[in-house]
């Protein structure tokens, strides 16, 4: 049943191309809601085994190469399917005003979503790689056609980085395939790869995936890409696409090559810590609001990588929870910056924004941004706190020193978030504080719905993280590298 997320979304993308333009955004909305609904229905069903990567569909595809069309589901996949659904719905809602070339826009958008569902559910290495690469081109067109600042550069950079990561992944997949003669992830997870193979295949594969997760120093596509992208593009990038890399790194690289992982995890932990602190420090100096958020994405994804590198149940479960949490929060931040602010003010420059008295002009935007910032900083009660505290508990067991450094990094995160918040909305100059706010188009209903959905998600998971952790943890415990 969960496989329908993929089919519905692909079907929606195709239907959009062939129906008249007035239906376009409605089809996109219904498609994304249907995809999410399928995810929720699976989520609430008690009889689904989420502890193991259970096969959903398995059809022979290319027998000569042992390729199967094989989808499977466990708690980790399900949580990521849910965040994909949430990000997709809100991305469509925040693109409600796209009129020019709308068919193409929503076609590419739904392809990204469908490909992401595919990655999260694939249980065949070739299939996973196919969906993974499928996401690359739609991103290019979304950004290069519909983006803003420096869009062609940002789009090309992002695409080439993704494709470079893809080439590394390809090599790692070939190594696994040649050694084991199978592409089935569950079979490969039982196979004993030689330590010599693992020692070089793991870093190649993991690094290839981590490019998309924004690992330092291969993260530079992320800020430029986020800034260049249209709002929905940045929401999908931050909300889903960066998770593809982290998820595949966990599902494929770590699970297939546990010894390689043990050998290399210290190095990747160091890169993750550098990424967290470095990106936060850079964000502190940005003038463009979207750059601030772009670097904050890199910093938050650093937590995911650090959690994965900690190699214990807490760290890895926290990493998965952080993928969900940042998917929601990142999408919310970009929605505020890209649509609520930029579309109305036509600037994202913090100095220019601070003179606009936006708090009075756009009170709902100010409220949303406060919530998003609080969630991003890791204030208790929001999902960011639940996720990061779980990660840090896990990391404490393996790398206590990293916790101290990252703790300092979190102060930086709070600093740049508060700075962005103050400069954009609350820079009250006493002389103009009571002046009438500039006339701006009020926040529309689709925007309020989209923001409401994202805020609800981060708050719900923040107040009751068990709802996700109960499904993530059993699945994490069965992963091979923890044994």
């Amino acid at each position: 049943m969960i496989a329908w997320t993929i089919y519905i979304t692909f079907a929606g993308a195709i239907v959009i191309l062939f129906l008249p333009g007035i239906f376009t955004r409605w089809i996109a909305l219904f498609t994304s809601i249907a995809g999410f609904a399928v995810g929720v229905m699976t989520f609430v069903r008690p009889d689904v085994d989420l502890a193991h990567f259970t096969t959903v569909v398995r059809v022979s595809w290319v027998p000569a190469l042992a390729m199967n069309y094989h989808l499977a589901l466990d708690g980790i996949s399900l949580v990521l399917v849910l965040v994909t659904g949430i990000a997709a719905i809100s991305a469509v809602l925040f693109s409600w005003d796209v009129r020019e070339r709308a068919k193409e826009f929503f076609f590419w958008l739904l392809l990204v979503v469908a490909g992401s569902y595919g990655v999260f559910l694939s249980a065949d290495l070739f299939l996973l790689f196919l969906f993974y690469e499928l996401v690359i081109v739609p991103k290019y067109f979304l950004i290069a056609i519909f983006g803003s600042t420096n869009k062609e550069y940002g789009a090309m950079k992002l695409t080439l980085y993704s494709f470079f990561g893809g080439a590394l992944v390809f090599l790692g997949i070939l190594a696994a395939y040649a050694a084991a003669g199978s592409l089935d992830l569950n079979q490969l997870a039982q196979f004993q790869f030689s330590p010599e193979l693992q020692s070089w295949a793991f870093p190649v594969l993991f690094l290839g995936f981590a490019v998309l997760a924004g690992i330092w120093p291969l993260h530079t596509w992320a800020p430029t890409g986020h800034v260049a992208a249209p709002t929905a593009g940045s929401m999908l990038l931050a909300g889903i696409v960066m998770k593809l890399g982290a998820y595949a790194g966990l599902r494929v690289a770590m699970n297939l090559f546990p010894q390689g992982f043990q050998l290399w995890r210290n190095s990747f932990a160091v890169l993750a810590v550098i990424g967290i602190v470095y990106a936060a420090a850079v964000a502190l100096r940005q003038r463009d609001l979207k750059f601030v958020i772009g670097y904050s994405s890199v910093s938050h994804m650093g937590f995911v990588l650090l959690g994965l590198a900690s190699a214990n149940v807490f760290g890895v479960s926290g990493a998965v929870l952080q993928m969900f949490s940042h998917g929601v929060i990142g999408a919310l931040l970009f929605a505020v910056a890209g649509t609520m602010i930029y579309r109305r003010t036509h600037t994202r420059d913090l100095d220019a924004l601070s003179a606009m008295n936006l708090r009075r002009a756009l009170p709902f935007a100010a409220f949303t941004f406060v919530v998003a910032s609080a969630a991003s900083m890791g204030i208790p009660g929001f999902s960011g706190f639940a996720a990061e505290i779980t990660i840090l508990i896990g990391v404490w067991k393996t790398y206590p020193i990293a916790v101290w450094i990252v703790g300092a990094g979190m102060v930086l995160v709070a600093a740049f978030t508060l700075r962005a918040l103050k400069r954009s909305f609350f820079d009250v100059d006493l002389a103009t504080a009571d002046a009438a706010p500039p006339e701006m188009e009020p926040i529309t209903i689709p925007e309020k719905l989209g923001a409401g959905l994202l805020m609800f998600a981060t708050l719900a998971v923040g107040l009751y993280p068990k709802i996700l952790l109960d499904r993530i943890q059993p699945a994490v415990e069965t992963l091979r590298f923890l044994k």
Binding site: W61, L65, F131, E152, L160, A167
Partner: protein, 483 residues
């Protein structure tokens, strides 16, 4: 062996020759109509394909001069199909004045292809090569008032005849060493004899002729001018069908004829033979083709350099060897040919509308002709190797075969992956012009695109998508025909 039986076994070739003569005759009369000639050509090719289907499964004439086997029959049909799709491209090309003559040349070239595919004896192979070559030289120079076309024809002719001389010399050496021209008996003789330097000279010289045909570096120098200068249908035919047939024959020569003299191309264990020679050609072609393509501003020149690179990828399967390797090469060259005919057909449309085929002429194609733009994106992305298109599976197949055959071939796989990473840039540049740049000024359309051309590119694009989603339909057939 009676003549009647010979005629029966050679019926497909006979049909094509008779059609060629008939089309030539019509071209000489007052009736010289493009439509009639095109229909006759298409009908002749279709009848020939049916005749191929009606041949017995296995037959050998005159010690391998004409061999009928499932493999040969399959590729005869593929060559006929490629010639078939070239016909509508030729019909919509305005620069061809005497379409009767042109189509007759196309048909004679097709006979050359069929001889080439059907022969397992060096002399017949050489005759096939020459028949094909002579037809192609004429086709390349067919646009008599365009100096570019004359240049293309002359260059192709000079390089081609030199390469033929090399091949003939190589064949004579091999005949001198083994006393045989049939591939199977050459193979047996070589297996019994010791390695001699003169044999290496013979093998390398024979390979040069084919390296020329498939435009592998450093024998590619004719390709850019021929692709750019020749009339579009000629260029499409040179780049597609001629290449497919060359790879089929090359595969048979190296596997059956030179089989015992394989050598090794593993990184630390290079051993003299044809395999390291092909590996060197492949690596050089991939690097040179991709890097030079980056700098091109003319789409046909860009396709030419990318063809050099693709020739390199395709050689990987032959270097890997074995049944899987040959199957991967055959699959890749087939889908590559389909893709390239499509790309040339779209270029033909653009050339007719705007009078040129530089990148600038593609600007705004998406607005002018959404169908052509969509098809072009399918062709370019398939060439770049992105899913779910046939090029993606083809590359996966080739690289995985090479990697699995011999771990020592890792260096070649890395070169190929790197090349394919570089190539994405210039394919995306083409698509950037198609989708993102707007045309500098509204041009008056010189001729509206014809239904036939649109149908052709749509069918070719559908084929690329189909073979990407269900590669099994073609791979299973190819594998089944290999011994």
């Amino acid at each position: 062996m009676s003549y009647l039986e010979l005629l029966k076994l050679a019926s497909p070739e006979t049909v094509v020759v008779v059609t060629a003569l008939a089309v030539l005759a019509i071209g000489l009369t007052k009736l010289n109509s493009k439509t009639i000639c095109s229909f006759m050509t298409a009908a002749g090719l279709a009848i020939a394909a049916v005749a191929v289907l009606m041949l017995p499964r296995h037959a050998t004439l005159f010690g391998g001069m004409l061999v009928i086997s499932p493999l040969n029959s399959l590729f005869k049909i593929i060559c006929l199909a490629l010639a078939f799709v070239t016909v509508p491209v030729a019909a919509s090309e305005i620069s061809l004045r005497n379409s009767g003559e042109f189509l007759a040349m196309l048909l004679l070239g097709t006979v050359g292809l069929m001889l080439l595919v059907g022969a397992e004896e060096l002399l017949t192979i050489f005759i096939g090569l020459e028949l094909l070559g002579l037809s192609l030289y004429v086709m390349a120079a067919f646009d008599k008032i365009d100096i570019r076309s004359a240049e293309a024809g002359l260059k192709y002719f000079l390089f081609g005849s030199t390469a033929s001389a090399f091949t003939l010399f190589g064949i004579s050496l091999i005949y001198g060493m083994t006393g045989a021209t049939a591939l199977a008996s050459i193979g047996q003789k070589l297996a019994a004899s010791n390695f001699e330097p003169l044999l290496a000279v013979g093998v390398v010289m024979t390979l040069i002729g084919f390296a020329f045909k498939i435009a592998a570096a450093p024998f590619h120098l004719w390709a850019p001018d021929a692709y750019q200068g020749a009339p579009i249908p000629s260029a499409a035919f040179i780049a597609s069908a001629s290449k497919v047939a060359s790879f089929v024959v090359l595969g048979k020569i190296v596997f059956v004829g030179f089989g015992p003299f394989h050598g090794s191309s593993a990184w630390h264990a290079m051993l003299a033979g044809w395999s390291p020679a092909l590996a060197a050609l492949a690596a050089l072609s991939i690097l040179l083709g991709n890097f030079v393509a980056l700098a091109q501003t003319n789409v046909r020149r860009l396709l030419a350099y990318s063809a050099v690179a693709h020739g390199g990828y395709t050689l990987l399967g032959l270097v890997a060897g074995g049944r899987d390797g040959f199957a991967a090469t055959l699959f890749y060259t087939t889908i590559y040919a389909v893709t390239l005919v499509g790309a040339f057909a779209v270029t033909g449309i653009v050339r007719r509308e705007t009078g040129g085929d530089d990148l600038q002429n593609f600007a705004g194609l998406a607005a002018r002709s959404p169908l052509a733009a969509a098809c072009m994106s399918i062709f370019m992305l398939s060439l770049a190797g992105l899913p779910p298109l046939a090029g993606f599976f083809g590359k996966f197949y080739l690289f995985s075969v090479a990697f699995r055959a011999d771990r020592g071939l890792l260096w070649l796989v890395i070169v190929a992956l790197f090349g394919s990473f570089v190539s994405l840039y210039y394919y995306l540049i083409v698509l950037k012009f198609v989708f993102i740049e707007s045309a500098p000024e509204p041009r008056s359309s010189l001729a509206s695109p014809r239904f036939v051309t649109n149908a052709t590119i749509a069918v070719l694009a559908a084929a690329v998508l189909f073979f990407g989603l269900l590669p099994q339909t073609l791979t299973a057939r190819i594998i089944a025909t290999l011994p």
